[in-house]
Amino acid sequence: MQLQLQQLLPVYFDESQRNASEVWRRDLIFSKGEYVKIVAPSGSGKSSLMHFLYGLRNEYSGNIVYNNQDIRNYSAEDFASFRKDHVSIVFQDLRLFPEQTVFENIELKRQLNPFHAAEKIREMAERLGIGNKLSSKSRICSYGEQQRVAIIRALMQPYDFLLLDEPFSHLDDVNSQNAMQLMLEESKLRNAAIIFADLERIDYFPYTRLFHL
């Protein structure tokens, strides 16, 4: 399982942005088991990159090839199974169902392709300190709590690549480390890669490769 970026560049970027980057307009190959850190200042296209890799947007030139297939050719159904079985994501803007409870939000992802039993939801929630929030509607949770819900949700499915888009922006250091630890354990279980994009370097992510966007 490999994720290849071939001369990738958002169509709305100009030349200057392209030259400074170690990702845009390069040929990169990410493999399972790697921990990739992408340091990206604001406006460098971090979220664009994550959305391209997850197949949410396609305003780019170049190719994204997953498992020798260009994802530009994926059908809607192909993307559904891509996101269900192979790639998981923690969005910067979280994207929870506001009217559903924390538990329901996570369960909606889990039931799609369960990697864990439903009991695991409570266990992980306890571990990240939101065990008492499971039956609260997600819209009344704080950003920090919502961020942890989004992280747990991403860990409910099997995946080869875990995409993290500023996953700790609303968390303190203790909670962030805690969550990072959980994600590392879960990724090890699946022998999966983590592609972690953030504004700056984070010490507790043991990256194997580092890129500046």
């Binding site: 809607a76 159904e77 559904a80 996101r83 559903q100 909606l108 992802k109 039931q111 499915q157």
Partner: protein, 398 residues
Amino acid sequence: MAVSFTPIRSLLQTGTNTSSRWFSYLGLGIGVLLLLCSIQMFINIQQLLGGESPRKEGYDFISISKTITNETMGQREKNLFNENDIKEIAAQPFIQGVSPLVATRFRVELSAGDIIPFSTNMFLESLDNNFIDTVPPNFNWQEGQDYIPIVFSSDFLEIYNVFAPGYGLPQLSEATASQVMVYITCYGENHVQQTFRGSIVALSDRVNSIIVPKNFIDWANKKFGSTSDVKASRLYIKTKDANNPDFLSYLQQKNYKVNKDKTKFGRVKQVLQGIFSGLGIFGLLVVILALMLFSFYLQLMIARSKDNLQLLLMLGYSPNWLSKNVSKQFIPVYILVVVIALGLTEGMQWAFHHFAMFNRPELSSWLHWSVLATSLLLIGLSLITNYRMVKKLLYKLV
């Protein structure tokens, strides 16, 4: 483990627009009811007015004869149709078929044996089977056979029942009339005579005569009669429309007399069928309108739940699976609506048969299978249109 739709149901915001949904269900119900009732009534008319057999559909059958005037009274040739007359009539554009009623050219005596002490001079006639409204399969005769099947006019039976008490004869129901064995004696020249057995195999509302198989009349006229050329006093005519002005003026010009009574039935049937066809088409329009209303409701529902649906697709839910399950939500309601309409139609049919038609045997209290088939078709149709609609809208969100 199959993915459950239950947690997703609450993500579809349906609560805010219930009235338009119930209106579309109601509209659908009314439309389906109209459509099913019309189909059933259409079939009832077919069955009541003897339109069962397709060859009689859409045609009027009427008998014509030459008007007997004081001038022509004594002249048999002028009061009978000869072969040229028949050919000329058959050639008219508004006439689809013509068959002479060929009568016996000899004396026939009919007696009912010992059970009913009744005998009378009689006549027998033959007519093309196509022109008889009730032809049972055993209505045929072969040379050497001494049994003759008879198609008897129901009017004649009525007349018999009127005078029978006065003669001390038993009155006969339609069922017993067909069980009475009669003896038909044919008298020819030179004291030739032969007796046949006969029985009524069917009653006819259309043909005012005593009809026996054609080959028997042909054979008997040769054996007992003196002439063999075809001369008929009455002709049966098959026409698309007995009230066609060209047809009527042709008859008038030829001085032919038409049995008008018989054409009325056909007109009534046409008018009734027209009314119910119209009602059926109206019902179909209402069904289409209701389905359209429902599709607006679906569009609104999907537009309102757009964010949730988009997020589901983003999480990896298959758009195809979602479309199937979203449209599946409405299956029970659709089936319920159609079943209620079907139930009401059945009630209507039962009441119509029981109270308006006094349980006439031609009709059934139960619905015709085509009504059931139509309702199944309607359920299928609405589910398919819903599914396609939802799928189209969901793929737009991907």
